[in-house]
């Protein structure tokens, strides 16, 4: 059957075609600047692969812009954005495109070898990544959104499609599991160093 020609694409690129998106460009730019970094961090830590996170970032914003859902409040838009991202991560995990074990090998971009303190912090981060890799996807999502990102239980529920009342016990169990994997018996020692 007939395919779209390059000439047609060029014609469309000159804004003759008006495709409806969820927000105008200015509003999107502001929203993107507020959410992109945290979204990328979420995607990279959930997939364990920064390159997959790059692709999912674009896909997430595209689906957000094409969604026919009207969200007036910033918080709802943000929750919906993370809901899309979570579903994409889960779809990729089901198709085995992401390797949870790769989480343990994700290196922080820009980390430089430095003094002993920096090395200790890098080692602690490696421990966290290794432990997170052994958790279930939902446990990782809960812990990251609640503790790393500071989302409320209602926001987490909207992002993950869970009832707000179920977040607390699920989060508690996930935290206990992570603590056990980290071998955290109590606070103290080099954990106090920042």
């Amino acid at each position: 059957m007939r395919d779209v020609t390059v000439r047609e694409l060029e014609r469309l690129a000159t804004a003759e075609a008006d495709v409806a998106l969820a927000m105008d460009e200015d509003a999107f730019r502001a929203f993107y600047d507020r959410t992109a970094r945290s979204l990328w961090a979420y995607l990279s830590r959930m997939t364990g692969n920064p390159h997959v996170a790059d692709d999912l970032l674009q896909e997430t914003y595209y689906r957000f812009l094409r969604a026919e859902v009207r969200l007036d409040e910033e918080a709802h838009r943000r929750n919906y954005l993370f809901r899309i991202a979570t579903n994409l991560v889960r779809d990729g995990y089901r198709r085995s495109q992401t390797d949870p074990q790769a989480f343990a090998h994700t290196h922080g971009v820009g980390e430089l070898p430095g003094d002993a303190t920096m090395a200790a912090r890098a080692e602690r981060r490696a421990d966290v990544r290794s432990a997170m890799a052994q958790l279930k996807p939902r446990e990782r999502e809960l812990l990251w959104l609640a503790y790393a990102q500071g989302s409320t239980h209602q926001e987490i529920g909207e992002a993950l499609g869970l009832k707000t009342g179920s977040i607390k016990p699920l989060l508690f169990r996930a935290r206990k599991r992570l603590a056990a994997l980290l071998g955290t018996a109590g606070y103290g020692g080099d954990n106090a160093k920042r």
């Binding site: 007939r2 460009e25 993107y32 961090a41 970032l57 912090r121 981060r125 955290t184 018996a185 103290g188």
Partner: protein, 166 residues
């Protein structure tokens, strides 16, 4: 299983989210953490994740907003163009199916006798009572019947092939 082991966990979590360092939390809260195993465990987990979050966001290699917006626009317009072209393909497929049906009907009409065709179907083991009923049909009626049958069979196939090729 209880969901909260210490009633001060929410307070501790809020303080750590705000300060990102236990040393920056109120002294009384720090003393509590030192004495409470549950809060100590929570503090360690939260601080590790906050550190990880800080590193991930500080060095996130995100493209510019303009780049993401432009790519989204281009993709949306491309998909819209493909969607606009899809009905043309479907109409073409139906047209081809109708043409084949008419051709089959025309062949039927031009054939001097339908008997040999019915004998061929009979060799396939079709019930004889159906063949006898066809023999009584007028040629024009038989032509329309054959043409309509071909369209009904071929049109969905053509539409499927047209849609799947995109």
């Amino acid at each position: 299983m209880r969901s909260v082991e210490c009633p001060r966990e929410d307070e501790l979590l809020a303080a750590l989210q705000r300060t990102r360092e236990l040393e920056a939390c109120p002294a009384e809260l720090q003393e509590h953490v030192a004495a409470c195993a549950s809060c100590a465990s929570l503090a360690d987990v939260v601080l590790r994740l906050l550190d990880e979050h800080h590193v991930a966001t500080a060095h996130a290699p995100v493209p510019s907003a303009g780049t993401v917006w432009f790519r989204a626009q281009m993709r949306a317009r491309h998909e819209a163009a493909q969607a606009a072209a899809r009905p043309i393909g479907i109409v073409q497929a139906i047209g081809i199916a109708c043409a084949v049906g008419l051709l089959a009907g025309g062949i039927t009409l031009l054939s001097t006798s339908v008997g040999p065709w019915l004998d061929w179907f009979g060799d396939l083991g079709l019930p004889s009572i159906e063949l006898a009923s066809l023999e009584g049909l007028a040629p024009a009626t038989l032509t329309v019947l054959v043409a309509a049958t071909m369209v009904v069979i071929l049109a969905p196939v053509a539409i499927y092939l047209s849609s799947s090729s995109e």
